[in-house]
């Protein structure tokens, strides 16, 4: 289907990081026909366009569900993937506005610092894992452990989410309109999770919280940015902070200090 990477005598892939420079550039926008390119070549082309050619609007056609595309792009730009991505898509990015017209596999937008990733279809597990900032919008369903270890930013899911959503979340927000699986917000330290559908069960130390005007403002603002219409009624969940034991002294230490 696509170009096969060169193998060395041991059967290992040989590093070929030459830049194809085949994209059609039209002013500040460009189109990459990714179908017959290797993953490495697609990423090299993308970086060449954004960093060296000053292109701010890239369309990647037919990414064919390949892994690790569009990672570590540290510049303000627009990237549109026309098709689906595999695992680790658009991870470690800082700045880009990404649109994916298909689905994504596990770990989309992992550790995003800032920017926007909009997925038109479903996402696999670990969507927005360790997210630091920016918005991740998934219009379909997501898998398990969405926003695990999330440290900032906003994750919006229009469909359902599986188990352990928001596991060990530390900051940031999640808005999930559909149903959520078991162990929601398990061991979360901080942050807020809004749920529109049924919650199968809450995780340890995840509790209901009172709705405030700030919540209304946030949800309405995010919905209007992404053209999602009027937000439905949501349930707000936060950390009960019962697991906060950082400052507790061991009994032997207490005798020494007190």
């Amino acid at each position: 289907m696509s170009e096969q990477p060169r193998m060395d005598e041991r059967g290992l892939v040989e590093l070929d990081d030459s830049i194809p420079k085949q994209a059609k550039i039209d002013g500040s926008s460009a189109v990459i026909e990714a179908r017959d390119m290797t993953t490495r070549k697609i990423n090299a082309e993308l970086r060449w366009l954004i960093y060296e050619e000053g292109v701010t609007d890239v369309t990647v056609r037919d990414p064919s569900a390949r892994h690790s595309l569009g990672v570590a792009i540290l510049a303000r730009c627009r990237i549109r993937f026309e098709g689906s991505l595999g695992y680790f898509g658009c991870g470690l990015i800082d700045g880009p506005e990404v649109e994916i017209t298909g689905r994504v596999g596990w770990s989309v937008a992992e550790n995003m610092m800032s920017g926007v990733v909009v997925v038109e279809s479903n996402a696999g597990s670990l969507a927005g894992a360790a997210l630091r900032g920016g918005d991740l919008v998934v219009k379909g369903d997501v898998g398990a452990r969405t926003g695990i270890d999330q440290k900032g930013g906003t994750i919006i899911v229009l469909g359902n989410a599986a188990s352990m959503t928001g596991f060990m979340m530390q900051r940031g927000r999640q808005i999930i309109l559909g149903d959520v699986g078991h162990g929601l917000g398990d061991s979360m330290y901080d942050g807020t999770i809004y749920v529109g559908g049924e919650v199968a069960s809450l995780g340890i130390d995840c509790v209901d919280a009172e709705w405030t005007d700030a919540d209304t403002e946030l949800v309405e603002r995010k919905f209007s940015i992404y053209g999602l219409g009027k937000p439905p009624e949501l349930r707000k969940l936060v950390s009960g902070k019962k697991l906060y034991n950082y400052d507790n002294l061991e009994p032997s230490e207490r005798r020494l200090v007190l």
Partner: protein, 309 residues
């Protein structure tokens, strides 16, 4: 890590290119497991039985290997005839033999008789199931055993990255659910209560040929089905009984099922329409047989799905 894949043509009459399709799917997931590759292919219901027999390990260095295998082939044939099998055809492959035969008796007795030939293992037995597994990637194994032209109804496959047992044919997937005809399993994950179940099933009279934790899934399901449970019921029960992380695919003569553990720790991407159901650890594998933009999703944790032809 391991890569698993399954494909079933729901209206297929047994003429689909499942050998070619499964090879492509597994080759696309070579990076998930380059140690060994295995296929469980269904040739469509026949009037005869087909048995795949392993004669030697791929890692053996016996200078007399060819002559020994020739002797094994002769002994297997003799024992099968003695047990009442009417042999129609015998095919030879590098380290295995394939016997096509007719038989009215008890299949377990027959399999046991064959396995009494030293260093011999029945890889698969059934009216349509054929298991082929060996070291190397999918193209290597498919080339060596001539799977490119295999036509059938459905198939599963496995690209193995060994985690807990040796790299050889005995520890390669798929596993046949001895002694139940036409049942095979591939697995991605680790089972933590594997020793418990192995002891239990051994006491119940089942035989194990490998140290691989995945072999117990096949035998476990077979044991459950022998008690009258359907494949789907057995798979639901397995979520309670098996501990660890797993996504496994089980196939029978006319159906294909998948089960995911309660943690959802191992990936699976699923595509289904009226014609075809294709599932794999990664979507790039599915794209090898459906080369277009497709709507796929990940089954959730604790989910069991079964499709029939």
């Amino acid at each position: 890590m391991c890569g698993i894949a399954g494909i079933i043509y729901r209206n297929g009459g047994g003429q689909e290119q499942v050998g070619r399709d499964m090879t492509r799917m597994l080759q696309a997931m070579k990076h998930r497991g380059p140690d060994s590759t295995g296929f469980a292919l269904y040739r469509g219901a026949g009037d005869t039985y087909v048995m795949h027999v392993k004669l030697s390990e791929s890692t053996e260095h016996d200078p007399d290997l060819e002559r020994r295998m020739q002797r094994q082939r002769g002994e297997v044939e003799t024992r099968m005839r003695a047990a009442g099998a009417r042999i129609e055809e015998i095919k030879e492959a590098p380290r295995t033999m394939t016997v096509i035969f007719d038989f009215d008796g008890d299949l377990r007795t027959l399999a046991d008789a064959v396995e009494r030939v030293r260093r011999t293992e029945v890889l698969s037995l059934g009216r349509s199931l054929e298991i082929v597994k060996d070291l190397g990637d999918a193209n290597t194994v498919a080339g060596e055993y001539g799977l490119g032209a295999f036509t059938g109804t459905h198939a599963i496959g496995h690209a193995r990255m060994a985690t807990e047992s040796d790299v050889d044919i005995a520890n390669a997937h798929p596993y046949w659910a001895y002694p139940f005809p036409d049942v095979a399993v591939v697995h991605n994950g680790q089972l933590t209560n594997f020793h418990d179940w192995r002891r239990r099933l051994t006491r119940a009279g089942h035989r194990f040929h490998s140290d691989c934790d995945s072999e117990i899934i096949a035998v476990y399901l077979a044991e459950q089905m022998s008690r009258g449970r359907s494949l789907e019921e057995a798979m639901h029960q397995s979520l309670q009984d098996l501990d660890g992380v797993f996504t496994y695919i089980c196939v029978t003569e006319d159906s294909l099922g998948v089960a995911k553990d309660e943690l959802g720790a191992k990936p699976l991407v699923l595509y289904e329409d009226d014609e075809i159901v294709a599932l794999a650890s990664e979507e790039i594998a599915i794209r090898q047989v459906l080369d277009r933009e497709i709507e796929t999703h990940d089954p959730y944790e604790g989910e069991v799905r079964v499709w029939s032809r």
